[in-house]
């Protein structure tokens, strides 16, 4: 149930959902490419750290 005092129009919410889906799909593609490029890193810690940094850089987030 929508409890907002100013409910968004159907067209706006569809557009927002569409943008979010595109962003999510783009982020998943980006993350997938980074994982692919690091596919032979194994348990090498420096390489895994670089992967973490690169993933954060590509996704515009902080490294986790």
């Amino acid at each position: 149930m929508n409890t907002s005092s100013e409910p968004e129009t159907g067209r706006e919410s569809d557009a927002n959902r569409g943008d979010a889906a595109v962003s999510r799909a783009e982020a998943e593609r980006t993350a997938g490419r980074v994982r692919f490029i690091f596919r032979r890193a194994g348990d090498n810690l420096p390489t895994r750290e670089l992967e973490k940094f690169l993933m954060a850089y590509r996704l515009g987030t902080d490294p986790v």
């Binding site: 490419r33 490029i37 690091f38 670089l50 940094f53 690169l54 850089y57």
Partner: protein
């Protein structure tokens, strides 16, 4: 026996490689002098302009690059001295070395070799090595040149031993392997050793030859700092995916080199940004 090696190839011995390298066209003396000046980091603006001006094709290429829209001064850079004022000494020096080596190496014919991919990776590695060297207060010029030349042995392999090179590529494709392990398995010698031999034959500075030779397995030593820098820059370049290689793959990084570089998240982020920004300026090279 693996399937890619089922067609027997003659062994690729050191003597045969050296004989072939000796037959390759050499870079001009001016280019070799420029490399040594860059290695010594003693290229003053006047000396650099003088050195570049002695190489007419280099002057023409440099001015086309400096006047490209990327640098925002189209048609306004008329001399090498102008280029140094507008772009800065470091950028002109790096552009000159890249353009000169591009001219020297593209005369080596290698059908089937993706030269564009090779140059893009080489330039990205050179920029990464330059950024790392600056951060570590080490010679930026040497680092740039060593990064630019680190894989030159692959070009020699492709041009002089096309059948061997094709077998290496088949192995890589079949096992999703790194070039180094494929070369060692199929040929018994690798591009790092071959590149170092070429550097010695072409009278490149010893520091550069050593960095080419050991960029995949740098020794944990203060004297081997340049190989360590190129080793990490190579990984950064692969990670940034700038070469346009669909099967791009980051090689494993040496623990001691990574520790010595001491890259935090913020350092890494700054270096990623710097490499990508400067890379766009060098991308005009292939069109200049």
């Amino acid at each position: 026996m693996n399937s890619v090696n089922s067609v027997s190839l003659p062994p690729l011995g050191l003597d045969l490689v050296i004989k072939n390298i000796n037959e390759l066209p050499s870079p001009s003396l001016v280019m070799v002098e420029l490399l040594h000046a860059v290695d010594q980091d003693d290229s003053s603006p006047v000396a650099l302009a003088k050195s570049i001006s002695r190489h007419q094709s280099l002057v023409a290429r440099m001015l086309r690059m400096a006047n490209s829209s990327f640098y925002g001064m189209p048609g306004r850079v008329e001399t090498i001295a102008d280029a140094i004022v507008v772009l800065g000494l470091r950028t002109v020096r790096n552009l000159a070395v890249t353009a000169g080596l591009f001219d020297s190496l593209t005369v080596i014919s290698a059908p089937g070799f993706d030269l564009d991919n090779f140059w893009r990776h080489s330039v990205a590695t050179a920029l990464g090595a330059n950024a790392l060297a600056r951060r570590m207060n080490l010679k930026e010029g040497s680092a740039f040149v060593a990064g630019l030349l680190h894989d030159v042995g692959r070009l020699v392999l492709a041009s002089n031993f096309p059948e061997h090179f094709a077998a290496v590529q088949r192995y890589q494709s079949e096992y999703d392997g790194f070039p180094l392990e494929a070369e060692q398995t199929i040929l018994g010698i690798d591009h790092a050793a071959i590149g170092s031999l070429l550097g010695k034959h072409w009278l490149f500075p010893a520091t550069i030859c050593n960095a080419i030779a050991s960029h995949h397995h740098p020794v944990d030593s203060e004297n081997d700092f340049l190989a360590g820098i190129v080793h990490i820059a190579d990984a950064l370049a692969h990670a940034l995916d700038l070469a346009g290689n669909p099967t791009e793959m980051v090689p494993c990084i040496s623990q001691c080199c990574w520790k010595r570089a001491g890259l935090s998240w913020h350092d890494s982020q700054a270096i990623f940004i710097e490499i990508e920004r400067e890379f766009n300026g060098f991308d005009v090279l292939s069109k200049a």
